[in-house]
């Protein structure tokens, strides 16, 4: 069953067409990769799904419902969250607080209730903290609970972005270059984490990544963009050997690597 359906999505910045007429469908509970050369339009594609940008034309359907025209926070309410290529943490706040913010949309408390000291709300807050801690344990950040997010090493910040995103219990999780700035060993554990998230959390994952080893290893399906256009799609093995993809993106060496 397809959870997400992209129809002829186009985005123009002035004279520049960042994505052009892209269509794809993402199966529920799959891991889908979007790859392509720099400036191909991958991040722009994520930005349209999460309503950061409004598409110039085309449609985005989540379980058949269109997301176009929603506000970014509404998209989150519909069950799509993301991480950012340029890390965007709440850097002044602690690691745990970052995760708590991720839970925002599923906490029920209203501020009036908070002021009235309603026991239900106090309880919810307590549980939220414990769950946030569990999530930090899950991504391996339990030693940084009270650290300011901005002071974490790069790789840890990336994992915190993931933790914050899964805190909202999304149906679809978009990861924009999650392995950037990680060494191979760290990338390996990230790969395991992504795998585990899919099975354990029942989440559909779409990721952008330039690390072909990771991409080839975990994706069920790959879409390749170049200059805003979809130039190929298929299973990892098809993509690995696709001439056009090798030429535009992989290069000879890298394709032999994965």
């Amino acid at each position: 069953m397809n959870i997400l359906e992209i129809k002829n999505l186009t985005k123009k910045f002035g004279g520049l067409t960042a994505t052009s007429d892209i269509s794809m469908s993402v199966e529920k509970n799959s891991i889908t990769a979007v790859i392509g050369p720099n400036g191909a339009g991958k991040t722009t594609f994520f930005n349209m799904i999460t309503a950061v940008y409004k598409p110039t034309s085309g449609d985005i359907l989540l379980n058949g419902k269109s997301l176009v025209g929603l506000k970014p926070h509404q998209v989150c309410h519909f069950g799509i969250t993301r991480t950012f290529q340029n890390i965007r943490l709440f850097s002044e706040q602690t690691v745990l607080e970052n995760v708590l913010v991720g839970m925002h949309q599923r906490l029920k408390s209203h501020w009036v209730g908070t002021l009235l000291h309603l026991p239900a709300i106090t309880r919810e807050e307590e549980q939220a903290k414990v769950e946030a801690y569990k999530i930090l344990e899950y991504v391996g950040l339990e030693d940084f609970v009270n650290e300011s997010a901005g002071n974490l090493p790069y790789g840890a910040q990336r994992r915190l972005e993931i933790a914050r995103a899964i805190a909202s219990q999304p149906k679809i999780l978009l990861l924009d270059e999650p392995a950037a700035g990680m060494n191979p060993k760290e990338t390996k554990s990230l790969t395991d984490l992504i795998h585990d998230m899919r099975t354990r959390l029942n989440v559909t994952i779409i990721l952008i990544e330039h690390d072909m080893k990771l991409v080839m290893e975990i994706s069920d399906y790959i879409y390749v963009l170049d200059h805003g256009e979809l130039i190929a799609s298929g299973k990892p093995d098809d993509i690995r050997n696709n001439k056009r993809v090798i030429e535009a993106y992989l290069g000879k060496e890298a394709s032999s690597l994965g």
């Binding site: 602690t94 913010v101 002021l115 569990k134």
Partner: protein
């Protein structure tokens, strides 16, 4: 040496309590005996700061703090002739603290720079002033004004609500404008409100224009008219406590986290499901309502208001209180407001009076152009620069809440954990 002693002291609760009790008793006694001494008054107030730094149970701290400000300070001060003067400064401190707490929500928590905050204070003040004097007769088709002083109490919530509405009105342009552009929009808004209030004596006379509104009814409680600073002190105290309660409760609530998230990174905040518009408007409305409440108190206390109390300079002074105290830090903001008010309305006046007396009696001689009576703002300016340079993050900088990790760990271990393969209960999860 000193450090180790200090560390030991920090762990010794009884020691601290004894020390603190001794301090409070002594200084209370000090003020009681030297009843007109500003120094004695300030040293007693210092106990609150000491209390803040003591490592005691938070509830005990609150109880002690309340005891000091609600009982000891007024009692000790009441012995001297400066009683009303001290209580007047105390009332002003409380008024401005509540306003600063409101502005702190807007600037400190939500990160929206506001240079027109005094407008909400003005709105609250005028609301009571108009109906608490004969002014309303000019345009209200029904009713008889002034409303009796007993209705004052109603005007505290009314002031809050009207100010909140104005907060939302201001918020609407904010939805698009960012950063320092916002600062200028709010500045403009503040000036618009002031000028309009100052000109609304025609075509219909609503605010009596530049002439201001005199003879505002004093509040009445059980038939007693409240007119003394020492009485207003308690009204302001109650609202102040209310404001602190709201501010601290909200800081660590879902809404508080949303504010800070919006402040730190709007795009990420939205992506996490935080509605930008609603969150910002809530900050403006709640922040404004603190000012609105205190506005009514201010009008009743002054018994006369005109637009000159609500200038742009006032807005910046409230902002100075917030930044000086430490943005986003509730204790800091309280200290910031207290320092600014006490400096301006008590310490500097006192110093300049002393110097004036000295120069009058020929002890020191200064040319008239440099007469100490004219120096207050100058000294205040120097102090601001010095404070800012030496406490760059504010007097009491904001600290992130520290979570009890071991407790969280224990609780996480005790509960069912879907993020973990639990060997014992394996299979029980479906």
């Amino acid at each position: 040496m000193i450090k180790t002693w200090f560390e030991k002291f920090a762990d010794n609760t009884t020691g601290q309590i004894i020390f603190f009790a001794a301090y409070v008793v002594l200084t209370t006694l000090g003020l009681f005996l030297l009843s007109d001494s500003v120094t004695a008054f300030l040293i007693l107030l210092l106990s609150l700061l000491i209390l803040y730094y003591l490592k005691l149970n938070i509830k005990i701290k609150w109880a002690l703090g309340l005891l000091i400000i609600a009982v000891l300070v007024p009692f000790a001060a009441s012995q001297g002739s400066s009683y009303q003067s001290f209580m007047d400064v105390g009332t002003l401190v409380l008024i401005y603290v509540a306003m600063s707490l409101g502005l702190n929500i807007v600037v400190g928590f939500a990160g929206l720079l506001d240079l027109g905050f005094i407008a909400f204070f003005a709105v609250g003040a005028y609301t009571y002033a108009i109906f608490g004097s004969t002014q309303a007769n000019h345009f209200m088709p029904f009713g008889h004004y002034p409303l009796p002083g007993d209705t004052f109490w109603l005007f505290i919530p009314i002031g809050a609500i009207i100010a909140a509405i104005f907060g939302i009105l201001l918020g609407i342009p904010v939805l698009r404008v960012k950063g320092d552009y916002l600062a200028i929009v709010t500045l403009g808004f503040g000036e618009i409100i002031r000028i309009v209030l100052n000109n609304m004596n025609k075509p219909i006379n609503i605010t009596n224009g530049p002439m201001g509104i005199p003879s505002i009814e004093p509040p009445r409680l059980f038939g007693i008219a409240i007119q003394n600073a020492s009485q207003f002190y308690y009204i302001a105290l109650v609202i102040f406590l209310f404001a602190i309660y709201i501010a601290t409760r909200l800081e660590h609530s879902k809404l508080g986290r949303a504010w800070k998230a919006v402040r730190d990174n709007e795009i990420a905040a939205q992506a996490m499901g935080i509605p930008l518009v609603k969150t910002k408007l809530a900050a403006f409305a709640i922040g404004a309502s603190f000012s609105g409440m205190m506005g009514s108190v201010f009008a009743a206390k002054q018994m006369y208001i005109d637009a000159s109390s609500f200038t742009y300079l006032e807005s910046t002074i409230v902002l100075v209180m917030v930044i000086l105290g430490g943005m986003g830090s509730i204790p800091g903001v309280i200290l910031g407001a207290a320092v600014v008010i006490i400096l301006n309305n008590q310490v500097l006046t006192d110093i300049s009076n002393t110097l004036t007396q000295l120069s009058a009696s020929g002890v020191i001689s200064v040319p008239d152009a440099l007469s100490p009576a004219k120096m207050q703002r100058f000294i205040f300016g120097i102090l601001l620069v010095v404070f800012a340079l030496y406490r760059t993050k504010g007097l009491i900088p904001h600290k992130n809440r520290v979570f009890n990790v071991s407790k969280l760990k224990r609780e996480a271990a005790a509960e069912k954990n879907k993020y973990k393969d639990d060997p014992e209960v394996e299979g029980s999860e479906s």
